[in-house]
Symmetry: C2
Subunit: 360 residues, 2 copies
């Protein structure tokens, strides 16, 4: 693919199209040169997933596998890759998208099909890593929508302008095609993402968007890819600091950490998804103690998970290490909503201001 | 509560406030009359849940339990009911809402608290059935948002006007406070609700909203209470026919049926949630055969569930009985997205027009 460059003047769509076309051209060139056509596919095995200290997220290492039409066992796999790449090229060209599920069904009409959807998903990922692009760039969309956004920002999707203060109380929903969205204008100083829609609605109701001049993002649990992309974009393109407030337990910690430092499984696209400058605002073990929050005892599985986190390179930072140790020591966890012990308004009137001051 | 009337000139909020206040006044009256204060709470036991053939949904029967301050075992329960009713009255008065989780945490500051959240949830339900109002009317909101809506309708939330064609590709999100939303204007002839966001995005992309002059509603699986309320309101207030298109399996059938005829568990609020005129558009067992869809074999649990449905009064209709029998006979199920076998556009270009004509 030496002739295909990531030209900065090209749109993401054009780059995708060229890369997909390049994959086929590479095979044709081999045929013309009478070489045996082959493709290099970067390895996604555990041993090739490396934590990059400078980038502060997981990346893929240098190892790759070669798939050659000279190897009988690999012929079907190459055929599948070419079919999927062709399907994606068609999607990009026609400005359409499809879910992985739809692609699997569409493949029923192909000469080389799949035995099950898992197989077609894996070939989709093969194309992602081979081209170094995320599947959204290839027109393959996840089923799920992203987070809800409320606050003073104007976005543009196609020719439609959207005001995230005027999209209803549940806000603007980040769509899977977030990379096609333009940021037209905004008047906020920061972004606060919260784990649950319960807390999102609390913040809208208490007018946290005014009080902290912030966007409010309701993650709905583990952040969807589109949400992570949105947070990265507002952080890097609009220079807005991003704060994450989740439940005070290992699962809440890790929902934040996947936003901050990406996941190992998606090492090949973390450069598009991770927001290493995002900060964890709480709920921390220290908060549980300092605010005397209502708690639940840690379960065995919580303890196990906390111990795993403490050995994870993404949690190397001393603050994380301290907080994990402290939670193990007190043996307790607490939810975001537990601040309601002091009244519904407390979290916005007292907790957020105090924590934001500490972090800024 | 003889003095409190459902006056049509009062807003839902005012009715809620009066009913909540009435609950306390009833107790005070008993005290003044030197009677032993007691409350009548309609029974939610299985034997008091009746399918109403005329209404076409489950309702509560006439049985009720009496809770009296003269019974030592019931004193705590009455105390809890009064506390919760008072908390709700305060919410309604201050135009606030809280989640059940928040209420549980708030209750930590009360003289009469709860041992766990399940206990406080049940008391919340006690108030609902006693007053014959849904908990949203009492300010107690579910955590989850409702469906996504795309199409030509203008809504008003507070002083904000929302155009569901201009809220982004993922549409307008129905918020838990859907009863406060006004329908200002629309230019559609029908509503089509689909089970998955994958299908929702397919319909937006293929411009189904134009082709069928329809609102598109993405249910995201089992419909949230706010979604069911929205569908009922557009059906009854705007006279729009509602069609539901789900996966062709017992779970898809039942997601539709809960929208149409409500659930047994919520018999006390089905009058606000059920849309008996909504129609199931597909995917039916007949569709699986007629369109030669890609299928999966029915699992044991699917067969079991289909047999349960065939004995459920909500499925008495001969069409349902035929379709359930047919699915059991072919032993197969199919997803909405399986129409992609014929290309991404097929479902909008061919399937929907054919089925809509059959049903109208």
């Amino acid at each position: 693919m030496s002739e295909v460059k990531d030209n900065k003047n090209l749109s993401r769509k054009e780059v995708s199209y060229n890369k997909l076309k390049g994959l086929g051209e590479e095979i044709i060139e081999d045929v013309i040169k009478k070489d045996i056509p082959s493709l290099k596919v970067p390895s996604r095995g555990t041993s090739n997933i490396v934590y990059d200290d400078a980038k502060r997220y997981f990346v893929l290492g240098d190892r790759y596998g070669k798939r050659s039409l000279g190897n009988v066992k690999q012929i079907k796999k190459i055929g599948q890759m070419v079919q999927v790449a062709n399907f994606c090229k068609d999607l990009v060209q026609r400005e359409k998208t499809a879910t992985l599920r739809e692609m699997y069904y569409v493949s029923e009409g192909w000469d080389i099909g799949f035995d099950n959807q898992q197989e077609s998903n894996i070939v989709g990922e093969d194309i992602e890593v081979t081209l170094g692009m995320s599947r959204e760039d290839l027109g393959l969309m996840p089923e799920e929508d992203g987070a809800s956004v409320y606050g003073n920002i104007i976005l543009k999707e196609g020719d439609v302008e959207i005001d995230a203060l005027k999209s209803g109380k549940s806000g603007y929903t980040i769509s899977p095609t977030i990379d096609e969205v333009e940021f037209l204008d905004h008047d906020v100083e920061r972004v606060i993402a919260v784990e649950t829609m319960g807390m999102f609605h609390r913040m809208v109701q208490e007018e946290a968007y005014k009080k902290f001049n912030t966007l409010i993002v309701g993650l709905k649990g583990q952040a969807a890819r589109a949400t992570r992309r949105f947070l990265k974009r507002v952080n890097e393109e609009l220079n807005l600091p991003v704060y994450i407030c989740n439940d005070g337990d290992p699962w809440g910690f890790h929902i934040a950490m996947v936003i901050i430092s990406g996941s190992a499984k998606l090492a090949h696209v973390n450069h598009d998804l991770a927001t290493p400058n995002a900060k964890f605002l709480g709920v921390t073990a220290s908060d549980i103690v300092n605010y005397e929050l209502p708690t639940d005892p840690l379960k065995d599985i919580d303890v196990l998970r906390l111990k795993e986190l403490s050995n994870d390179p993404r949690y190397r930072d001393p603050t994380w290490q301290t907080e994990i140790k402290k939670m193990l020591k007190i043996g307790k966890k607490a939810e975001q909503q537990s601040f309601s012990k002091y009244g519904l308004e407390y979290v916005v009137d007292t907790y957020f201001p105090e924590k934001l001051e500490l972090l800024s």
